[in-house]
Amino acid sequence: MGTKRPAAALAALAALLLAACGGPSTGGPDRGTSGGIHNPSDAKGGTLRYADSGDWDSLDPADTYYAYTWNFARLYGRALVMFKPAPGAQGATLVPDLAESLGRSSDGAKTWTYTLRPGVRFEDGSPVTSKDVKYAVERSLDKTTFPNGPTYFNDLLDLQGYTSPYADPDPDKLGLKAIETPDDRTIVFHLRKAFSGFDYLAQIPATMPVPRAKDTGSKYKEHVVSTGPYKFQTNELGKRFTMVRNPEWDPATDPNRRPLPDRITVDLNVNADDVDNRLISGDLDVAIEGAGVGPSAQGRILAYQGLRANTDSASVARLWYTALNPDVAPLDNIHCRKAVLYAADRTGYQRAYGGGTGGEIATNLLPPVIPGAKRFDLYPSPKHTGDIAKARDELAQCGAPNGFTTGISYRAERPKEKAAAEALQQSLARAGIKLEIKPYPLGDYTRLYAGKPDYAKANDLGLIVYGWGADWPDGYGFLAQIVDSRVIRATGGNTNLGIRDPAIDQMLDQALLTTDTAAREQIWQGIDRKVMEDAFVLPGVWARGLLYRPPNLTNVFISDGFQMYDYLPLGTTRR
């Protein structure tokens, strides 16, 4: 304990010196994507301490589905492709990792081929082959053993009935026809339908190689075999795990990683307020979830300039919005929906989510952090406070000149959504639109209530407060699950809360055939514009998270790929 204090003091001094020598941190929260690296350094050593206020869904690369776990997984595994560890928009670009180059498509974006780098080894020294990658993807298809991971490979690969390598009659357990491995360095994916953004799927941790001999199914998460610069030293599930350098990782095979700390520790299930307090006191280096500090710590940090200088505001690929449900009269009339869009006070919506710190006022769907997103405002009003005259005009065209009454639902466990519903109730009342506020439990919100079309209709849920984040920063990753009318199921569980337009469905299909990135981004923008023209969505806030970085943290920057600190280059001055 005695040696701890001087070390901390030295770290603080170093940080002060760095700041004095033109370090980029000044004033208020940096507007994240400006592209600066805080405390750049290449000094190796020390222990980097992370903490998680919840539990890891799973360390198994086949079984994990959070931005932060995907960010962190790159420390112990190498997928075919990865998000470039670079600040700002650069961080949302894909670069080859285990593969030599990005995917080569043929057959109209239905076949994708990758060639592996030579010389990559597992932590036990055995070489990584394309069969290990194939096996890893195969096992990720088994949603009974690995329920957490995404289902993109299940949906897109031409499975021909294949379910799981654990039920595979093939002696090598490589019976899946949709993936071919003509040699040890080549892997070919065959898809059911064209998918132009396949490289985004190739960066999912499910493509991180898994040696079949070491695979223990659902227990593999207890000891994942590393291909990255760190390997697991201890792993107490639900409590903590520690990692040390992996001597078998060869920097010559890896142009992307420059690992600095010697050790990494991650504490799990730590109280969220405790995480914030330890972060501020210097007892912790990174709040690993990357979602930003809680409201009480936020108040303390923003009120105190010394702490405030060490914050970044990360733009998140998430939109908090309210769906206007066309099933509920009179919102089946586009003019009544437009009246809502004109009457709403967007500044109140923003305040509900924490003001400027919580996000910026959204005027369309695609969050600006997504490459190719373009801002536009079809329903402008002075200072975003709403245009009541226009709203009344639309109401008259809708045949309800005195307004109407409908319900607004929100998730009971989310105080911010409640505040948003109350703010909308106030601002829409100015145009005579009366809202009845109805809370529903978060767990069943889409399954039984707002996301179940007949329930929403029967209970007059005309406005549905909701939010959506992208699985990866790209138009498909954001839009696919919320605008495609063909994914709406009568049985509930929908995340598309009433956007039904055949034109939009057609544009989605067209985008998946378009391999040219710029042309594809045009189509995403077109879909965004069409949804707004149809007035299906009242956009609220493009989310931001207030991230705190202790002064001892080096090489800190926000990557637009994960919209939080990039965990690959992080180092610490604490020895």
Partner: protein, 318 residues
């Protein structure tokens, strides 16, 4: 002092005094109970005249005041949640609603539900308790076992579940009216055994008394004995225990609102305000303090008054 009152008592000793007069004299001497009673009356007046009070001293309880809130921190501007002559209890975080007005209006919901629920449970408890105690036998066994079942019921869990499944329209009611009716029903229907047991015990002992025997030997039928002989003698314990049941019910209503199954936003309730304040108490303590204080003062006042009433009506129980 003792000499003085001794003299006073001697001077008026000749007059006969009814039970009520004796109780009133005892109550008048109990300053704590009187203070409690004063607060209770004030609270009831506040609840009744809430619109007038708010019109003079506050702002409409649902009105937003964005100008009172720091746009970046979402915390009220000014000291301790922006307390000022204009905003007596400060403003609410995020939307700047007047905390004073919301606390005042919150008293309506709290007192309305607590009184109505208490009336329901007293009605049920008295009727069933008297019948059970007076008739005895299988009637007593049946009602007593029913009370045991009700007392063993996980009331809070049941209330949460019930409030969750009742749709937005039911029994021809909607909105706040429906939620209030529902809460009154839940709280009242499940707390009657507390009154019922006490009434039953009293009725058991009353039924052996000579005046009941006398009434019976004079040919009075059971309904008459119950209504004119038993009930007047049960009035005191019923009054006392219903006064003590009110604060319990206020707390129960606050708990339900805190858990989000009570009256819905934006209607102000004390429990609902407390629940929202949990996210803000470190930086906007006024938001938690005032509704918390309101619950505390109300419950304390009712309890003190109820205790004093019991001492006055039934000194032996002291």
């Amino acid at each position: 002092m003792p000499g003085m009152s001794e003299q006073g008592r001697a001077a008026t000793a000749i007059q006969g005094r009814s039970l009520r007069q004796i109780a009133w004299r005892r109550l008048k001497r109990d300053r704590v109970a009187l203070a409690g009673g004063g607060v209770v009356i004030t609270l009831i007046l506040v609840a009744i005249f809430a619109p007038v009070i708010v019109a003079i001293l506050g702002h409409p309880p649902l009105e937003f005041h964005y100008d009172k809130v720091d746009p970046e921190l979402q915390v009220p501007r000014g000291h301790f949640g922006g307390i000022s002559p204009d905003f007596l209890f400060g403003a609410e975080p995020v939307n700047g609603r007047d905390v004073f007005s919301r606390v005042v209006y919150g008293s309506r919901i709290s007192l309305l539900i607590a009184f109505a629920a208490t009336m329901l449970s007293v009605l049920l408890g008295t009727v069933l308790g008297v019948i059970s105690g007076y008739f005895g036998g299988w009637v007593d066994t049946l009602i007593s076992r029913t009370m045991d079942v009700f007392l063993a019921f996980p009331l809070l869990l049941f209330a949460i579940a019930l409030a969750g499944v009742v749709p937005d329209r039911a029994f021809g009611l909607t909105g706040d009216t429906l939620r209030i009716t529902l809460m009154v029903f839940i709280i009242g229907f499940f707390s009657w055994p507390y009154i019922g047991r006490i009434v039953r015990g009293q009725a058991l002992s009353l039924r052996e008394r000579e005046f009941i025997d006398a009434a019976r030997s004079l040919g009075a039928r059971s309904p008459r004995i119950l209504c004119t002989e038993m009930l007047p003698n049960l009035a005191a314990p019923i009054l006392v225990y219903s006064t003590l049941l009110i604060p319990t019910n206020i707390l129960f209503e606050a708990a339900l609102s805190f858990l989000g199954v009570g009256v819905r936003a934006p209607t102000p309730t004390w429990g609902g305000m407390l629940s929202e304040a949990t996210h803000w108490f470190q930086i906007a303590p006024n938001f938690m303090l005032f509704p918390g204080l309101a619950i505390f003062v109300t419950v304390l006042a009712f309890n003190l008054f109820g205790d004093g009433l019991r001492d006055a009506l039934d000194p032996r129980s002291r």
